[in-house]
């Protein structure tokens, strides 16, 4: 329970820092902190493979891509939008609060007790058997998606192609 509270507070506080801090590089680093805290929660939910995947792929690959692009863009400080939270749009906060109230209200109804699981729940072997068994077509289709994304990214980012 203590581990959950600590990880939840770190994940939430780092997520708030992502959207409030001024420099985009600091935003990305806070997002990595938030993801590490969430991987602790995944381990607590006995999703070991997914937790490792989150750290390796999300923290290690996607967010490094973010950092790479931010450094490549070489943004001037005037462009960063100093007034990001000074000139807040009130409707954003109102809709956000309404959405939060609605979601918390909805989640009050769920059953609160966690069922016990076996030893190999969420292990690499068990997830791999599902990935290459029951879900083999969606899994193979992601390779087409990634190929399309690579081609699309190169076409859009390359000058004069």
């Amino acid at each position: 329970m203590l581990l959950f509270v600590v990880a939840a507070i770190i994940a939430l506080a780092a997520a708030v820092m992502v959207i409030t801090v001024k420099s985009p590089v600091a935003s990305v680093l806070y997002l990595i902190i938030s993801l590490l805290a969430q991987s602790v929660l995944y381990i607590q939910l006995s999703g070991l493979f997914v937790a490792a995947f989150l750290v390796l792929i999300y923290g290690g690959a996607i967010l490094v891509l973010f950092l790479f692009v931010i450094m490549m863009l070489n943004i001037r400080h005037a462009d960063l939008g100093r007034d990001m939270l000074a000139k807040v749009k009130p409707w954003g906060w109102i809709f956000g609060a309404a959405l939060l109230a609605e979601m918390v209200w909805m989640s009050m109804g769920v059953s609160s007790r966690m069922n016990a699981v076996g030893e190999d729940f969420g292990s690499v072997t068990a997830v791999a058997l599902l990935l290459y068994g029951k879900f083999v077509y969606p899994f193979e289709l992601t390779s087409i998606l990634l190929l399309a994304a690579i081609v699309g990214a190169v076409v859009m980012a390359k000058r004069g192609l």
Binding site: A15, L45, L73, L85, M108, A149
Partner: protein, 100 residues
């Protein structure tokens, strides 16, 4: 054992932080990171329900969502690079050609 609704409420809070980041922020990169926060909040809810229902299908869904997030990040960052090249800015308010 931590109850299920704690995870769901934490996931709701994270999702709303992402929504507010997208709505309030004017920086395209931070808006994009808000989308990533929302995807992760949904992933956390999927993991919690997967543990609760003792079905590992949720782990596969989280895996696929992460793959889609990787593809989305690559394409989105390419769009941001293209926008920056044309406008010399990543401020969303600068993109007002199609604004009514």
């Amino acid at each position: 054992m931590v109850p299920l609704d704690y995870y769901i409420i934490l996931s709701a809070f994270l999702f709303v932080v992402g929504v507010i980041g997208v709505i309030v922020s004017r920086n395209l990169i931070v808006m994009f990171m808000g989308i990533e926060i929302m995807l992760n909040a949904a992933n956390l809810a999927i993991m919690a329900f997967s543990r609760h229902l003792r079905l590992m299908d949720g782990h596969v869904f989280v895996f696929l969502v992460m793959t889609v997030a990787a593809a989305e990040a690559a394409v989105g960052l390419a769009i941001i690079i293209a926008v920056f090249r044309g406008r010399e800015s990543v401020n969303a308010d600068a993109l007002n050609v199609m604004k009514w």
